[in-house]
């Protein structure tokens, strides 16, 4: 009893010292920090893989790598970026911000929080170590379609186990987020008063819990097909290779929204702050988010229009997919209306948020184009698709993470980042990301399939431009690392409110916040 009391007493004075602070921590801010650093590291590793891909595609012919390794790079780039960079980044932001935004002292399940982070490094180490095993890293695409994925060598069971671990980590994180939001809101913080970032994560967490087990099931069936002579997806044994695609995309399409809904939340926090005007249409934003989440479960087959479905099925998935444009449009209109007749300033977070709205919308337009099934027959599996999903994921999701980091970094560290460098980072990123991905629309329409290590010479010009953009974008991110480290180590002191238009509980705490966020519950009026 005494020891316990002593420990509890210690906790009030701040974190333990040294490495064990990070290994044993149950503090939501420490775990959030771990998630974010981990995510940044993985973003750089996944980025290097992307640069290897773009270097090889700089000109026709094979210059640097062989086709098998090229396929490993596209596969690993996607897996790392999705599961190890973007998802942990959003979970990290959730860990840091959700308790503070709803007036809670910590996450509801702090020990599980520790575990859900510490699974990640092991899962990713296993995934990355496949680069060094016999047969090389998985090369069948991140979608892992059988029968091709069954040709993977020693990397195969490592891939499956790693995905299981990543899934467990995500599910635990989601349970924690739901438990926190449902139980730890401050008095007066009703559901319809929660900040949009909390709302979007609340919905995202349900998507994760619903879909990660589906992915786990699908990859487990792959495992038994390869090692235990089952024939779930083996046509020769009476199985169905297309069934895998249906199961995978039943996970995969909600996964797309798992990667973008928190981004919507972030942008909905930032734009009102810098427009000095409340978010327009708060309740319609909540309903739109929920509608997108619901629709995400009934559109999966638009990823596989060429697989050979009955025409009635294709019509259904075409119409359902188009419907997603409606709630997404509502969100964009609401953001624009929030800006309208505001009193805007353009600090780095606002720049990234506006960049998000512009470029995510471009990705949305190409999304509407490919929802048209007959036209998708031409777009499917070309660089047009690559351009589309990179527009929604890079200047979309990744820009939102950067916006969030710039927005909350002064709160986290107590120091302002270097505004000049931040703006420079934004403009470098924006210019290069467009040089990188916009030409991919052109080569895709002109007939270049995706996932090819070498291409016919008529695609050379735009591939060269794209590669130049890739290296420019990649190098610009080193600037981001520098800016973050610089702010973490010192700089002009931030006030509690940081931004003069900022509203919400997180800005009532000191910068940086106390180790246990709210020791007395705030009351929301």
């Amino acid at each position: 009893m005494d020891t316990h009391a002593a420990e509890a007493h210690d906790d009030h004075h701040g974190p333990a010292k040294g490495l064990m602070r990070w290994i044993r921590t149950t503090n939501h801010k420490d775990i959030g920090t771990l998630y974010l650093w981990f995510s940044l590291l993985m973003f750089l590793i996944g980025g290097v893989m992307a640069l290897i891909i773009r270097a090889e595609l700089f000109q026709p012919g094979l210059q640097f790598i062989d086709p098998q390794f090229f396929n490993s790079m596209t596969t690993m780039h996607a897996l790392i970026m999705i599961f190890a960079a973007l998802m942990p980044a959003f979970v990290g932001l959730a860990n840091w911000m959700l308790p503070i935004m709803i007036g809670a002292p910590d996450m509801a399940l702090p020990r599980m929080n520790n575990w859900s982070f510490w699974i990640l490094p092991f899962a990713v180490t296993m995934l990355l170590s496949t680069l060094f095993v016999e047969g090389g890293a998985p090369a069948g695409g991140w979608t892992m379609y059988p029968p091709l994925v069954l040709q993977t060598g020693a990397a195969f069971p490592m891939l499956i186990f790693s995905i299981h671990l990543l899934g467990i980590s995500s599910i635990m994180g989601s349970i924690n987020i739901i438990a926190t939001i449902m139980n730890l809101r401050a008095p007066g913080m009703s559901y319809m008063k929660m900040p949009m970032f909390v709302w979007t994560w609340f919905i995202t967490a349900f998507l994760l819990i619903a879909t990660m087990p589906v992915l786990a099931g699908a990859v487990t069936m792959l495992l038994t097909d390869k090692y235990f002579a089952t024939s779930f997806f083996n046509a020769a044994g009476g199985g169905d290779p297309v069934m895998f695609q249906h199961i995978f995309w039943f996970f995969g399409h909600p996964e797309v929204y798992i990667l973008i809904l928190p981004a919507f939340g972030i942008v909905s926090q930032i734009i009102p702050t810098f427009a000095r005007k409340p978010l327009f249409g708060y309740s319609s934003m909540v309903y739109a988010t929920a509608s997108i989440a619901f629709l995400s479960f009934i559109v999966w087959a638009h990823h596989m229009f060429t697989v050979g479905m009955p025409v009635a099925g294709e019509l259904f998935f075409m119409v359902a997919t188009m419907l997603i444009a409606v709630p997404t449009g509502v969100k964009v209109f609401n953001w624009v209306s929030t800006m309208w007749r505001g009193s805007m300033t353009f600090e780095t977070p606002m720049l990234f948020a506006i960049g998000f709205v512009f470029m995510f919308t471009i990705g949305g337009f190409s999304g509407v184009m490919m929802a048209m099934t007959p036209v998708d027959f031409q777009y499917h599996d070309t660089y047009f698709i690559v351009a589309h999903f990179h527009y929604v994921l890079v200047p979309g999701a990744i820009f939102s993470v950067m916006a969030a980091v710039y927005y909350w970094l002064p709160k986290w560290t107590g120091n302002m980042y270097d505004e000049k460098l931040g703006k420079f980072h934004f403009w470098m990123s924006t210019v290069f990301v467009n040089i990188l991905f916009f030409p991919q629309h052109f080569v895709g329409l002109a007939g270049m399939p995706r996932r090819i290590p070498d291409y016919s010479v008529q695609f050379t010009n735009f591939n060269m431009i794209s590669t130049i953009g890739a290296f420019g974008f990649g190098l610009s991110q080193l600037l981001f690392v520098y800016i973050v480290i610089k702010a973490a180590r010192g700089g002009a002191k931030a006030t509690d409110q940081v931004w003069d238009g900022a509203e919400g509980l997180e800005w009532t705490l000191s910068s940086p916040p106390p180790y246990h966020s709210f020791s007395t519950q705030p009351v929301v009026k």
Binding site: P60, G61, L62, P67, Q68, N71, E134, G141, Y145, P147, L148, L150, Q151, K226, D240, P241, V242, A275, R276, K277, P278, G281, Y282, S284, T306, V307, G308, M322, A325, V326, G329, F333, V336, S343, V357, F358, M359, T361, I362, S366, M369, M372, P374, V375, F377, D381, P395, V443, L445, A446, P449, R451, D454, Y455, S456, V457, Q458, T460, N461, F462
Partner: protein
């Protein structure tokens, strides 16, 4: 984001002046040479312009707001933050626009999926990494792989400039030939992993999946050569299994059919006779290059951990029956295919002999077409 707007407007103006197929700067979908491809192209342009108009409106309002409603100009923030009417309007408006797009798309889709009343059928089977074309009514069957100049130039550090190779990566040894003005139904399946048969000018892209038969059709209006590629990741040489379709006038097509039938007779005769060792080795080297080298590599060294070496392989240097069995029936659970259906007796005999006595192996025996025939 100014850059994004510039690029978008740049795209719009460029599309107005540049033709779809302009050299190395092609930026738009190809119109193609079938009724369906034209219809798809029109739909593509329709949805594109709808997006452009919406984009101009939305981005226009945003840019106006960013220019005028800024604190540095002393603009004071308004306080409004909701309007049920606005929300209803901008929910209904997109639904109307989408409905406007859905109707022609649905009509086109129903037409595309109706492959009934076709004039002829071609069965397309995907293999790692080549295509097989079968004309069941005419009794023609052949394989189509990437042609040699592209294959040689596409090896890493080949020293050959791809620009010097005609139709680099888009040329094959045996193109598939169809008559113009006929509704040709294609059936798609696969022998190993998923592939997708895509010829942009025909607006045909369909997955070839083991255990499934998909169909799609095309009615080509102009004679010509149309090129495409595999569009579904199918392993190492996914980027190296092109498709070439030649559309010919009916008379030329008929001549091509009789030519194919005659050469099939010759091949059959070659499998009847007894070959001498040099002839087997020479033919075997050719077959090895087109059927085996993609995985086991030109020198027989394989890729460690992925594709086993031929040089010194216990199967190849071991008992001849097991060697033939592996080539003819493949190895289940690996990428090793069954070649009994892909190669004729003479070619199997030749490549087996070549593997046993070339590529650093020296077993000393040889296989005759008759030996292969006995195993079928």
């Amino acid at each position: 984001m100014n850059k994004a707007v510039q690029l978008l407007t740049g795209l719009v103006s460029a599309m107005a002046v540049t033709s779809a197929n302009a050299g190395g700067w092609g930026i738009n979908l190809r119109e193609g040479v079938t009724d369906l491809s034209h219809e798809i192209y029109d739909l593509h342009m329709l949805v594109f312009w709808v997006c452009v108009i919406i984009g101009v409106l939305v981005f226009g309002v945003m840019i106006y707001s960013m220019v005028h409603h800024r604190a540095s100009k002393g603009h004071k923030a308004a306080t409004f933050h909701e309007s049920t009417l606005a929300e209803i309007l901008w929910t209904i408006a997109p639904i109307l626009v989408l409905g406007f797009l859905t109707v022609p798309a649905a009509k086109a889709l129903i037409k595309i999926e109706d492959s009934s009343n076709s004039d002829m059928t071609i069965k397309v089977t995907g293999y790692q990494w080549k295509w097989q074309y079968e004309y069941p009514e005419e009794g023609i069957s052949f394989f189509s792989s990437m042609s040699d100049p592209s294959r040689k130039a596409s090896v890493r550090d080949s020293g050959i400039d791809p620009n010097s190779v005609e139709h680099y990566l888009l040329d094959v040894d045996n193109p598939v030939v169809i008559p113009v003005g006929k509704k040709v139904r294609f059936l798609f399946t696969s022998n190993d992993v998923n592939h997708a048969w895509w010829v942009p000018d025909l607006a045909v892209k369909k997955d070839a999946i083991p255990g499934f038969i998909n169909d799609m059709w095309a009615n080509v209006t102009e004679p010509g050569t149309y090129r495409g590629q595999c569009a579904e990741l199918c392993g190492k040489d996914h980027g190296f299994m092109p498709i070439v379709v030649i559309a010919k006038e009916q008379a030329d097509y008929d001549a091509w059919v009789s030519e194919q039938l005659a050469s099939a007779e010759e091949t059959k005769a070659a499998s009847e006779k007894t070959w001498d060792r040099d002839a087997l080795m020479a033919q075997g080297e050719k077959v090895y290059a087109s059927s085996c080298a993609a995985c086991h590599q030109a020198g027989g060294q394989g890729i460690p951990g992925v594709f086993p070496a031929i040089t010194g392989s216990p199967t190849v240097t071991g008992e001849i029956g097991e060697h033939l069995n592996t080539i003819m029936n493949g190895r289940t659970g690996t990428a090793m295919q069954a070649y009994a259906g892909q190669l004729n007796d003479a070619d199997i005999a030749a490549v087996t002999t070549f593997q046993r006595n070339g590529l650093g192996n020296a077993v000393g025996d040889m296989v005759q077409p008759a030996d292969v025939k006995a195993l079928r």
